[in-house]
């Protein structure tokens, strides 16, 4: 893990609402693993805390993230331009790669809204002999990012793209209509969606690994602010930033 000042290579809209920011880092591009995040200091003085972002893609020595403008930090970030510098700390957290083994045939990637972020990088590094199905859910079309993904199935709340309904409805339908062998879920998105998908995974006896989100002050284990309650186990809580962000959903209280 390093703290680096990097240079922005590009900032462009992937959809009307979602931006992709690319910067150059030899270090991060050589060590980062799918599912990890970087912690960005978006402004000198404001906002105070860094903001965590999943690594969306790595190409050569370029790293990219995707985000939509929802609050103070992303507003500042959206105003950056090519050539500006950025203070990034990473890579942080564990990787989805830790949870890939021989006990499943098909990976169900499920991304809710901007929760799609870790999947392109994961797709790139996924064992080629395994099947991937990528389910994307969003409120509307403008929140659906498909770049770098495989075998994509889309749902939107308003039906503006793909299936109209929740991403879980889409998954259920697809699961009933097809035979995917032994499935493992890899999910990322709003907590409510992750809860629902994790429950469903349980009912169909599939393992489920979720990348969790929560407010973080440090992202590296210093503040203990990012606790998640563990089911069973010796300790009551684990730290999302350090012991996650990816957990088997059965082991934590979402």
């Amino acid at each position: 893990m390093k703290q680096e000042i990097v240079q922005i290579h590009s900032l462009e809209y992937l959809t009307n609402e979602i931006l992709e920011l690319t910067f150059i880092s030899d270090y991060l591009s050589s060590v980062a693993k799918p599912g990890q995040f970087i912690n960005i200091r978006v402004g000198d003085n404001f906002p105070l805390l860094r903001r965590p972002f999943s690594i969306f893609n790595v190409e050569g020595n370029k790293i990219s993230i995707v985000f939509n403008v929802i609050g103070t930090g992303t507003k500042v970030l959206a105003r950056k331009r090519k050539g500006d510098t950025l203070d990034v700390l990473g890579p942080c957290g564990n990787s989805f790669l830790l949870f890939i083994d021989d006990s499943f045939d098909t990976a169900f990637f499920v991304g809710g809204g901007i929760g799609v972020a870790p999947f392109p990088f994961l797709t790139k590094h996924f064992p080629s002999h395994k099947k991937i199905v990528t389910y994307l859910g969003g409120r509307h079309k403008k929140l659906i990012v498909t770049k770098g993904l495989k075998n994509i199935k889309i749902s939107t709340d308003d039906g503006s793209d793909g299936f109209q309904g929740t991403v879980l409805d889409l998954i259920k339908k697809d699961f009933q209509e097809n035979d995917y062998g032994k499935i493992r879920f890899f999910i990322c998105g709003p907590t409510r969606m992750m809860k629902a998908v994790a429950n469903y995974a349980n009912t169909i006896n599939a393992d489920c690994y979720a990348s969790l989100e929560c407010d973080m002050a440090c992202g590296i284990g210093l503040c203990q602010g990012c606790n998640i309650e563990v089911i069973g186990g010796e300790r009551k809580y684990k730290l999302v930033c350090k012991e996650g962000t990816i957990f088997e959903t059965k082991t934590v209280w979402l």
Binding site: M1, I220, C223, C226
Partner: protein, 313 residues
């Protein structure tokens, strides 16, 4: 340029420490920070038994600050001694063990366990803890209890004993005087300020425990005023804490009277803040012709013609 500071025969390389609860046990960031360059490390508050800490959410950002209610989650003093101290000893750092407890007895027992440990160079006592006997009221807001804790702990150690005061009182100087009287070697000023924040959509508090501790740049002016008040009340050293993010901030605390400073929240944003503060303070002194940081301490130039009676806000 003399940067070091001596407290009850313990030599601190320089006057910049990292604050309790903001740097783990000193072993979290080896890649990022060369901790041997810091004046010292104050550990996360240690209690007798391990503590899980509070439910989530535990933190939230505020304007130039953050609220936390970690609940003093810690591995407990035994695990600290067995699992953390051996590596810390090798780090060539000055280690101050911070102690939290829910009774005077617990403070004493934890200190006794640590006092025999070679790698522990001194103690900082977190009195901003709920006194279980009194239904959870903080020890730190009761002068008599702070006196008692200081007195009992002083009997039990010859190592530096630092009492960390809470700012959530009317006259912090009363508390500082009590610590001085009972033999403390220094006081740390300040712990976090009580604050709260609400999510207007869910109408729930943004941290699970409703109120929490405010830290970061937002509280720097408050911390400086408390350090100033304390330095004018006692002769033992004061360790300044609160919102320090740069060497300039540290210099403000020195000028006001702090003998050492601690960096808290800034570590979350830049874990190497301490190192850059050490460098910056050194350069400031050199540039201004001081050959010992001591020379800037308590060098505030106030206008003596302005009396308190006149100074309505």
């Amino acid at each position: 340029m003399k940067e070091s500071f001596n407290l009850r025969n313990v030599e601190f390389k320089n006057r910049i420490l990292v604050a309790s609860g903001t740097f783990g046990y000193g072993d979290e960031v080896p890649d990022l920070v060369d901790i041997a360059k810091l004046g010292g490390i104050v550990t996360k508050s240690l209690s007798m038994k391990p503590r899980d800490g509070n439910p989530s959410p535990r933190i939230t950002e505020t304007s130039s600050g953050m609220l936390n209610s970690i609940g003093l989650a810690n591995i407990g003093v035994h695990k600290f001694i067995n699992e953390k101290l051996p590596t810390l000893k090798k780090s060539n750092s000055t280690i101050i063990a911070n102690i939290a407890a829910s009774s005077v007895e617990e403070y004493c027992s934890v200190l006794e366990l640590l006092d025999g440990q070679e790698g522990v160079h001194g103690f900082e006592i977190n009195v901003s803890c709920p006194n279980v006997k009194e239904g959870g009221l903080s020890f730190g807001t009761d002068v008599k209890l702070v006196s008692l804790i200081t007195k009992e702990l002083r009997k039990r150690t010859q190592k530096p004993l630092i009492i960390k005061l809470t700012p959530n009182v009317t006259h912090i100087s009363d508390f500082a005087r009590a610590c001085e009287t009972e033999g403390a070697d220094a006081v740390s000023v300040i712990n976090t300020v009580i604050g709260m924040s609400v999510n207007i959509n869910t109408r729930k508090p943004k941290i699970a425990t409703t109120t929490g501790g405010l830290s970061g740049p937002a509280i720097k002016p408050i911390a400086l005023a408390k350090v100033y008040e304390t330095c004018n009340a006692i002769k033992i050293p004061v360790i300044g804490i609160g919102g320090i993010t740069s060497w300039e901030d540290a210099v403000e605390f020195f000028i006001v009277g702090a003998s050492m400073v601690q960096i808290g929240t800034a570590n979350f944003i830049n874990p190497a803040t301490g190192i850059s503060v050490v460098e910056g303070v050194k350069q400031y002194c050199e540039k201004n012709g001081f050959d010992d940081v001591e020379q800037i301490i308590k060098s505030l130039q106030t206008d003596k013609t302005i009396s308190i009676v006149d100074s309505w806000l």
